[in-house]
Symmetry: C3
Subunit: 138 residues, 3 copies
């Protein structure tokens, strides 16, 4: 098989970073692909993907604080009918990532020791987020 | 066919967001690929790519306003011989995206309902921008 | 061969941008692939990748100055035990890129005339950075 796809659904609970490394790794294992490329694509415009430190949870707090200050919630946006957290969520998505790629070697993601994969929910309320995992290889 | 490439040329008209979703979708259809990966690569350093809301044009205005404020035009840069809009265009490109990846399933891009693909021109004058669309799959 | 992988190791020397275009191009040539996709993946969370102007070194200085101001070093972070340059390095990585993709046509990367590939070291001291180059194609 050279192209393999599976969708992960993640129920978020307001602004937060959800570690999804093990879910993605399980799909890579399922695919049986030994040498290839894993592409992650998030089907949303107010949540995003990052690859970041997986050890100290304080890193995630600092990341959240930084982005909350850089792109403040509020009504100082033209697009404000969906609430004070919607337009900043779009901007935060643009400044981070909708897609990510991680090579696969020896049947495993080649993530560095400290790298984790995170889905970043930028809205205040819970959302059902769909992440497409696409794997190509042999 | 497993790798298919086509270049889209877009004539921009100063700072603006150009929706290119349908142009990319047409190339995906031309490729005949049913399951695969579509990679977009912009061959420039002062224009960029984003995937964002395709419904309310005010979202695009807020995005533009935000980035104009975060990375102001002007002569407060060392690299200023190409005009007050050149160095900020490079910075805005770095903060957004030069490449994007979107999986293809059932012959179509798996974009979410609200996702559109945009080329973001960061220079003041019109430019001819080249976007390479690379499709792999089966 | 349809999937080809090689790791580049780069010894950095504190905060700096390292041009790696020719190293990546050499691996593309080694692969023998004529039409395909080159994916770069950096196995770290405090260094990142960008594709930017390869001509005027002042562009790199302005980029560095901008990011140093936007994400200042210091102890105003919860995660500060690894030094005043660690948490800002994580944030700067999130705002730039861990992976990049460049199509290959006629055996060469389709980079634009002014595009160079850079590894951006965000820490103050020298680090040994591993970049995985993954090439798929035919």
């Amino acid at each position: 098989m050279s192209h393999y796809q599976q969708t992960i659904t993640i129920q978020t609970s307001g602004k937060s970073l959800h570690k999804i490394t093990s879910k993605v790794a399980a799909i890579v294992a399922d695919s049986g692909i030994q040498t290839g490329l894993c592409t992650l694509f998030l089907r949303h415009t107010s949540a995003s993907l990052i690859i970041q430190e997986n050890a100290d949870p304080d890193v995630l707090k600092d990341l959240s604080n930084f982005l909350a200050k850089l792109v403040p919630d509020g009504y100082d946006y033209i697009h404000s009918t969906e609430g004070p957290d919607d337009m900043p969520a779009h901007i935060r998505t643009v400044l981070t990532h909708t897609s990510e790629q991680i090579p696969i070697a020896n049947g495993r993601l080649v993530l560095g020791t400290w790298q984790g994969i995170y889905l970043w929910e930028h809205r205040d309320h819970s959302h059902r987020r769909e992440l497409m995992v696409h794997i190509s290889g042999e």
